[in-house]
Symmetry: C2
Subunit: 466 residues, 2 copies
């Protein structure tokens, strides 16, 4: 990124309150209005009736084009944890898609071009999404539809247009090694603003994240990679920040940390070396504990998630309808980071979590990440720090919102996102799979792809500096 004062633009975008294009209130109303104008009908239909899709001999679900995505069975073998072997359905989508935000400087403020996007699985059908969400199938026109809006800006971006460009993972429990290209570009040319798009400041998007299910997962993951402190000059900007914001700024600039980066890398290397994760494909019809009917692939015990087939009809300015499988969660989820000041610096309590679809065995996850309904009542059945999170006092809650998973694959899936400040007497010593990291260390890992999982990134993106 060439430096024609990108620092000031981004700082202003984060901290300056007024947006001459749309106030935050107007943006909220816009989403409410768009939700009112749109009618989404989801009808559960037999897999065999999904137009454009076929059911494989083994029960797997595939798009007729052979691309897009499929639902297949995997056999998981690992020497980690108490359950060393299981089978489950998983979403297979090997192509790297674009999650792209186009930005432009207008009068010294960087504006982000955001879309009010309808996805069939969204709880509130319209959510704020990146400028561009495109699978390789999309942009190579497997659907034979028109090219996604604004795609050309991304395809033609030059190095000097790139603000951020990282490969990041999706849910390791639901996707097999899925990654997206998280990209922010800055253009200097005129940009046509299409009806479903609005210019927003970074501060506005972060404020909208404080509402439940308003900013979609794709937006959150792209923005999570933007290390704010790279763009802030302490002299002119810290005064516009809240106390908490200044403390987060400090945590993301300091080299003063409880563990060195060499220690953190060694800790993770050790876990990756100690434990194996072997994934092979299996028949979806031969997964113990799962039943496969015409209508759904679901657990016999009703846990975790199920796969359903739906017919989607979206009535808007025009009518669109199609069929596709969706993954429906059976419980609500919880994603929570504990943060604690150590020697005056905020540290995040980070977990190394093995999930079957992870690209590299372990990824860095929030302190607690689980489905709440699946947690037993006995102490040994609960994830570490689970009770601490759920029993946190109100004054410990820095953030507490419900946030959605991607509505193009998941049916009304939401997770409670929590940032909890630890008490002073919270222990510094942690179980082996946990570590304390400064925000600076988290960003250093994030930069090098696939280290922070999507749940962790969602929480990082919500950090407010105002």
């Amino acid at each position: 990124m060439s430096a024609n004062n990108i620092e000031a633009m981004i700082t202003n975008s984060l901290l300056v309150d007024n947006n001459p294009f749309n106030s935050t209130e107007e943006l909220k109303n816009w989403i409410v209005q768009r939700n009112g104008e749109v009618k989404v009908e989801i009808e559960k239909i037999p897999f065999a009736d999904m137009k454009g899709w076929y059911v494989g001999l083994d029960g797997s679900l595939h798009h007729d084009s052979g691309r897009f995505f499929s639902i297949q069975g995997i056999d998981v073998q690992t020497d980690y944890g108490s359950v060393n072997s299981w089978r489950q359905p998983i979403i297979i989508q090997p192509e790297v898609g674009y999650l792209g935000i186009l930005t432009k400087e207008i009068n010294g403020i960087l504006y982000f071009l955001m879309q009010a996007k309808i996805e069939p699985g969204n709880i509130n059908c319209v959510q704020i999404s990146p400028t561009l969400q495109a699978t390789k199938s999309n942009y190579s026109r497997v659907h034979a539809g028109k090219s996604p809006n604004y795609l050309d800006y991304f395809i033609n971006a030059k190095p000097e247009n790139i603000v951020l460009d990282q490969l990041q993972s999706e849910q390791g429990g639901r996707f097999l090694r899925k990654r997206n290209r998280n990209i922010i570009i800055k253009v200097d040319v005129d940009v046509d603003i299409l009806p479903d798009y609005r210019w927003m400041t970074l501060g506005q998007i972060k404020e909208l994240m404080l509402s439940d299910n308003l900013v979609n997962m794709d937006t959150r993951t792209v923005l999570s990679g933007l290390k704010i402190s790279d763009y802030v000059s302490p002299i002119d900007s810290l005064s516009g920040m809240s106390d908490f914001g200044r403390n987060m700024f400090l945590s993301s600039t300091t080299n003063h940390s409880f563990k060195s980066i060499i220690d953190q890398l060694s800790w993770l290397t050790n876990l990756k070396a100690l434990y194996d994760l072997h994934i092979t494909k299996c028949d979806i019809n031969s997964m113990p504990g799962w039943k496969n009917t015409d209508l759904e692939i679901a657990r016999e015990d009703g846990n975790y998630f199920k796969v359903i087939g739906v017919s989607v009809t979206i009535s808007n300015r025009e009518i669109a309808s199609w069929c596709q499988p969706l993954v429906q969660p059976m419980q609500e989820g919880l994603c929570a980071f504990i943060v604690k000041k150590i020697d005056g610096i905020y540290h995040f309590l980070v977990q190394a979590k093995l999930e079957c679809g992870n690209f590299d065995v372990f990824e860095l996850a929030p302190t607690v990440q689980c489905l709440t309904g699946a947690v037993g009542n006995q102490a040994h059945e609960k994830p570490d720090f689970y009770d601490y999170i759920l029993n946190a006092r109100k004054d410990q809650l820095i953030l507490d919102t419900m946030q959605s998973e991607e509505g193009g694959r998941f049916y009304q899936e939401q997770n409670r996102n929590l940032l909890v400040e630890a008490d002073e007497n919270f222990p510094l010593n942690l179980p082996p799979r946990f570590t304390w990291m400064t925000l600076n260390q988290i960003y250093e890992f994030m930069r090098f792809n696939n280290y922070l999982n999507i749940q962790a990134r969602s929480l990082i993106s919500a950090i407010s500096y105002k």
Copy 2:
């Protein structure tokens, strides 16, 4: 790593000339002597006669334990390059092994405990190897043999003992997603020196690397991760360095680079997003272009490599014999970096190379990495910069040695390792798959696992500062 002046120890180990335990001459003689004492007999035998191994129905080769390693067929599909589909045998060894060097400070100098190790495929049967080379099968005793020497030091290492601890890849054309734990520990306790081990300084090991095939690949990969400039205080040490050493030091400390790290990441993200690499297993008996006889799995055109079965007998103080498959190259290899001063700073001409066994599609490779015999005479058949490397004048050659691949898997495989200084008029603009990186950027990528391929790391490890 706690800092009880590790800087000075490592600098001294790199630059101080005398080693009271063994001079460099004595170490060379020691290897010659060990080579004289050892007799290695390699007999090519039919696969079916390999004791402890079995041939699968599809022609694949497996250890009876089901662990260790196997030779299997893979089907490769990619939309990168001119050949988009092929099948080949590959070594499958999914476990992460240890490549570990134990170090200890003695009188202010850090000494590395190195082993004279015999491997069946070595050109000169004894090479200098890390303190510990152990697969997970080794140290979990699948062989029911005794525990590897010095293993306990590594297993019990505490964070304060860790100097370096990284997961790094092996040859992506020969291994399927193989990685090793490259680890250097520093201990303070007394260490028993077993007969085949010697204390060496870092400077001595680097000097021994100037001889052909003396320092094995495992040593080179472990040492490649040690960023010398992290341990050098300019005030007291630069004077002991050569001009070239000082220039390399500058390249590994400066933030002044031709491309920013954000540009480098975006360049690599773009390549990984653009191109797919799909690997599935296939019958080794159904690989077009390969023939599978009782004695070997080889290309019909005699190119690339073949798999052979051998009976190994090593007569030494005691006699050991076993059978195993080995991979035998059909041509000599060439691994060469071009370096060029840009604005006074050495930059390496780095290639992003797709190899079928890569963990993450592309890895960073030397400017030229190829089998020389397989290169055609027409300009379009030659890898970029191939002619430039081979036509380099003597005064451009910073390094020119033959170095071996790992003799436990490869039969007498060696690559010519070259560091070539570019002429002043060498172009700064590069083809899309190439970039200029400072040594500082190379080390930043190296730290985060799997970015630099093993051929690139071998060359980086050979950089001499004296």
